[in-house]
Amino acid sequence: MLAAVATIFAACTEDIDLRDIDDTTGILCVNGFLYSDCDSNVLYITKTGITEPKDVNNATVKMFVNGVLTEEKSGADSPSDRCYCLKTKFSSGDVVRVEVDCDGKHVWSEGVVPQCPKDLDVKATFVPDKMYYDDWAEEFEKEDMYRFDVSFTDISAERNYYRLYTKKDAYILGTRYERNRWELDSVLVEWEGEIYYEYRYKDTTYREDVHISAANTELYINEAPELLDEEITANDEFYDGGIYNYYKVFKNSRFAGGKCNLRVFEMGLNGYDYNLLPPETTVIYDLADTATINEYNYTEYIGIESIDEDTYYYVKALNGFESGSFDNQELTGAVKMRRNVNGGSGNIALVGRTITKVVIYDHYKPRWVLKERDYYIDEDDSRYYDE
């Protein structure tokens, strides 16, 4: 019996040549998110390659707005780069066409810049956390949050697609006692002592902390934060393999032509002290730290981006990419990416964006002392060492 079972699952693996399949290397890929009223939009131009894409630094980019050539750029910003910064400003409703020529290949993409969302309004509220338990019934630390009630008016009753933009800008002055090992320019440094620090931290909001309810209907983009009982939803991480809306796209199916209400939770800064480290260093080991914050500056930027259908599905595919749905080729086959570039590959997104700045703390001097926190990492775990 066991022999039979073993026989079934005994696999024979063989590599065979891939015949009768087109060579797909060298295909020109143009990608980028081009924002309205922005004079520094970036296009990424590469060619498909066997192991990884190849940067293209000798392409010629032409940008047309409403049929008029507004910009022509030859060569990447840096010779070893793939970035092409475009200075042309365009507005909602403009027809934007991008043409790229390189090594005899010509690709293009054209679209209408979506209207910017209207009547954007953001209200911030401090929300104290409650104790909660994770899937393993272990207590999690309490992490107070900020809630941003965002509302805007749908640009029309037609089908529209949006993306939530969130970004924090923190500026902190503080004192910190640390026992750390750092790796700086490949040199391992161990030290212990008290430091004064001044950190500037800019980042998009962690996607896990975003929860959206639209038009009084729950529309969870990710798991809800677990700080309020009534917010708890089944759409959590229990079921491995689910696709999470990391990049926060949604459509207006629940509020077509009307008002959309979103609720965004942000951890503020107290949960980010671990991340508030100089950008040139890489933490590989951290046992404990105690810090005193002397000055606290915290600004949240919240915006709504209006995108077209192609970009909506492109970003949804990115969500799938991040969630691992591209990783099971044995079962699903390779997944073809969404693209809107003709003659090549890639997606050029035209985005209409409205952003609001919310200042939470401005030169605030809390004199908070963060309680000691233990980050225990197994020293034997080689994953933490950059080899």
């Binding site: 026989t7 079934i8 087109d22 338990y133 459509k251 591209f326």
Partner: protein
């Protein structure tokens, strides 16, 4: 001229009135068990009129008053001829006796003559004997595997019982168990179907020319009828196999009045793997992996009179797969024990109540009540018991995600046979669908002796988004024998499907025409239109219990299949039958995942991930059968082409057409049954399929993110500076690669021995007899170049179903 026609009409009418019509009707049954025979024929050699028993064994034949010679026949049974003098409507119940020849393993289309009798085409009866004589994986005979050997049917992934019929998808097959649709027909991730062969009485497979009473799926119908139970005597059988054991008991509760049939099947895989699991430890934790399933069929039928009969049937099947680990800690004062169990459970519960009533010798009705529930659950149970200096602590955590479908149905079918030239079938079918694609609950309980204030006992429940739908089908069809040579079967079904605020209506005309220039030759043509209002969400070629059935929505329209078929049939060679069928099929609103999308177990917003397009399939199917003698079997050859085409605005393959995954150009199937003597017989099958299609990437392309990428975990966020550019596989076209062909031979030998009180059958089977290394799984991967080059991509082919011998021991009492 006009007057002459009127005169002719009057003369014909007088003639008709002069010859009084009488109707004979009744049931044709098996002599030994009184089991009704489906598709048996009654034929009057004087008038050359005939009739066929319906699915309940009932026939009705209207003839002129006077003497008639009636021949009753059924495949594998000794025909009976009765000379009768008909003066008035008469009931004649006939019991036919089995020939008892094992070599009579044949596949027929309603009759032993390549479907020549029936007006319809593309239907095949699959006798239970054939199912029992088809060698399969680990000796587990299976309805679906036998159907896979029919022309026009493609197998899914290796070892799977999934079928793809004439270019249709895997969810386009209406599989009925005693009239109730079965949503999940797989055990063990698709290796076996839920139909226990011993419980099955008759299987009919339709791939075109669908009778009007069948609705709801686009590509095929598999109608499985279970045994009614022996009305005369008790009988039982026990089979012991490598993976499963089965039993069947049937017999009379009251002779000739009430009978029952009970059968069951279970696997004991976990019993055999338990010793290995008991010593298995990973990181100090005891790990146990187990799998178990069972099927249970029960049926009772009661004959109130020749006019009324009641059938109650029940099916229950469950699969359960689990992994648990135990961890114990003991360090003097501190002791703890925790157990974590993950499980996956799915199963069907189906019950039908059917009432046959003969209103008159010419009008038969069958009313059916169906209850059908499919449920899947995936969950985690955790328990911790600990004792330390701090006191006692107990924690329990249970979390479950589940999905279910509950169907309640009522149908009434009528067979009206006004005369020998017309048979009219009409009726309705109503189903109340209750889909609950996703629901979940989390239960948390903790008790601490040192911190009682922290004790919790909470239950969080998410009932999911329930979807209710109502489906009503009305149908009528007529089998009209215009002349002896020309038969016509027109019909239609009209379906209403209401979901949410939307109601879809579908008119589905169907027509079949048969012309027989000679008795042994027939030409047929048919047109059918089918609609499908439910879809199975899946991204993998193997059947997973997490695949979800969902109904159409306000945005996703019903799938429509239209099929045009032509066929030629010949039985002129003794013991041989030939059939040639060609078809052209179109599928509208067929679903495919949009570029960049795939199903990952959640149904939420599934309609966003798919797009509707068209599919076409065309093919020619040749079948040559040897139907009697010591050696029987058939050879089939199918030449087909299937592709999918989505319009330019769609988000599937940029609007470019692409081949269907199971577009296999050439299929060959050979089934061979040889009876050497009364004690030994042998069965063999060989199949050849051209390669299926797969989407393969041989290069990488850049993708750009709208913001910093989320990292795998919080600490990597710091290790790798965030970036908004990455790369993924570049795919130019879907299904851009044709896989190598697959071929497979299975052989089974049966040794029969008649014991004093029973018959013993020892079956020895070999799956994949010559160890063909077929591509069961495959993916492209990069192979480096030792000389510093970029290397190249190769296809990694994984073959896991190699040569597998097995045995089954059966005792029939």
């Amino acid at each position: 001229m006009k007057n002459k026609l009127i005169l002719l009409f009057i003369l014909l009418s007088i003639n008709a009135m002069a010859q009084k019509k009488v109707t004979i009707s009744g049931y044709i049954t098996d002599e030994k068990s009184s089991e009704t025979l489906i598709g048996a024929t009654v034929y009057d050699s004087n008038t050359q009129h005939g009739a066929i028993t319906n699915v309940f064994g009932f026939y009705s034949l209207t003839l002129t008053e006077g003497a008639h010679s009636l021949k009753f026949s059924y495949v594998g049974y000794t025909p009976q001829t009765k000379e009768v003098a008909l003066l008035s409507d008469t009931t004649i119940n006939i019991a036919l006796s089995e020939m008892g020849e094992l070599g009579e393993v044949v596949v027929t289309a309603e009759k032993e003559d390549a479907g020549i009798t029936s007006t319809k085409m593309g239907s095949l009866d699959v006798p239970v004997k054939l199912i029992e004589h088809t060698p399969t994986l680990l000796g587990e005979t299976d309805v679906m595997r036998t159907i896979q050997l029919m022309p026009g049917v493609q197998q899914g992934s290796a070892g799977s019982s999934a079928i793809y019929v004439r270019g249709g998808g895997g969810d386009e097959n209406l599989i009925l168990l005693d009239g109730a649709p079965v949503y999940k027909v797989d055990h063990m991730f698709g290796f076996f179907s839920v139909f226990t062969p011993e419980a099955v009485k008759k299987v009919t497979f339709y791939k075109s020319s669908f009778p009007a009473r069948y609705n709801g799926r686009a590509s095929s119908v598999i109608d499985v009828r279970t045994k009614d139970g022996d009305m005369q005597k008790f009988s039982k059988s026990i089979s012991i196999g490598l993976l499963t054991s089965r039993f069947t008991i049937e017999g009379p509760i009251k002779k000739d009045k009430t009978s029952f049939s009970v059968s069951g099947r279970t696997t004991y895989l976990s019993l055999f793997t338990a010793p290995v699991m008991s010593v298995l430890k990973i990181d100090g934790e005891k790990i146990n992996v187990g799998y178990w399933f069972y099927d249970f069929n029960a049926k009772v039928n009661h004959k109130f009179s020749d006019k009324d009969r009641l059938y109650v049937s029940f099916y229950r099947g469950i699969d359960k797969f689990w992994v648990w680990d135990n961890y114990e800690y003991n360090d003097g004062d501190s002791k703890s024990k925790d157990k974590d169990k993950y499980y996956l459970r799915w199963g069907n519960l189906i019950s039908t109540v059917r009432w046959n009533h003969v209103y008159s010798p010419r009008l038969f009705s069958n009313a059916t009540l169906t209850f059908n529930r499919y449920k899947m659950a995936i969950g985690d149970e955790y328990k911790y018991d600990g004792k330390s200096y701090d006191g006692k602590k107990m924690e329990e955590f249970t979390s479950e995600y589940n999905s279910s479908i509950l169907d309640l149905g009522f149908a009434d079918d009528f067979d009206y046979m006004p005369n020998s030239k017309h048979t009219i079938r009409y009726g309705f079918n109503y189903i109340n669908h209750n889909f609950n694609p996703e629901a979940s609950f989390t239960k948390l309980k903790s008790q601490s002796s040192s911190h009682p204030e922290d004790n919790t006992d909470t239950l969080m429940r998410n009932t999911g988004g329930k979807i209710h739908a109502n489906e009503l089908s009305l149908y009528v069809e007529e089998d009209w024998k215009i002349t002896e040579r020309l038969h016509f079967n027109p019909g239609f079904a009209y379906t209403l499907f209401a979901v949410g605020k939307k109601t879809y209506s579908n008119f589905q005309p169907r027509a079949s025409l048969k012309y027989s220039p000679r008795k042994d030759v027939a030409f047929k043509a048919s047109y059918t239109r089918m609609s499908q209002c439910v879809h199975l969400l899946t991204s993998t070629p193997i059947s997973l219990p997490t695949d979800l059935w969902v109904p159409i929505t306000e945005d996703i329209k019903p799938e429509i299949a239209q099929q045009y078929s032509l066929g030629a049939y010949y039985t002129g060679f003794k013991m041989w039958e030939l059939s040639l069928e060609g078809y052209y099929k179109t599928l509208d609103n067929v679903l495919e995942y949009k570029d960049g999308m795939s199903f990952m177990g959640f149904s939420s917003d599934w309609q966003e991930m798919v797009d509707m397009g068209k599919g076409t399939s065309k093919g020619v199917e040749l079948m040559v059968k040897k139907v009697s003698g010591k050696a029987t079997g058939w050879v089939t050859y199918t030449l087909s082409k299937t592709d999918r085409d989505f319009d330019n605005n769609s988000q599937v393959n940029n609007g470019d057409p692409f081949p269907f995954t199971y577009d296999r150009r050439h299929n060959i199937g050979i089934v061979y049954n040889q009876k050497f003597n009364d004690r030994i017989d042998m069965d063999a099958t060989w199949t050849f399929y051209s390669g299926a299609h797969a989407t393969v990437s041989v290069s990488k392309e850049t993708i750009v993110f709208p913001e910093k990428r989320i990292e795998d975990s919080w600490y990597y966020h710091n290790i790798n500076p965030s970036t908004d550019v990455s790369y993924t596989e570049y795919v130019d076209n879907r299904n851009n690669y044709t896989l190598p062909p697959t071929h497979l031979m299975c052989i089974g030998v049966n040794f029969h021995k008649q014991k004093k009180r029973c018959e013993r059958i020892f079956n020895l089977s070999v799956y994949n007899a010559y160890n063909a290394k077929n591509p069961d799984f495959y993916y492209s991967h990069h192979v480096g170049d030792n000389n510093g080059g970029e290397g190249k991509y190769k296809m990694r082919k994984i073959s896991f179903l190699m040569l597998i011998p097995s045995f089954t021991l059966t005792y029939k009492f």
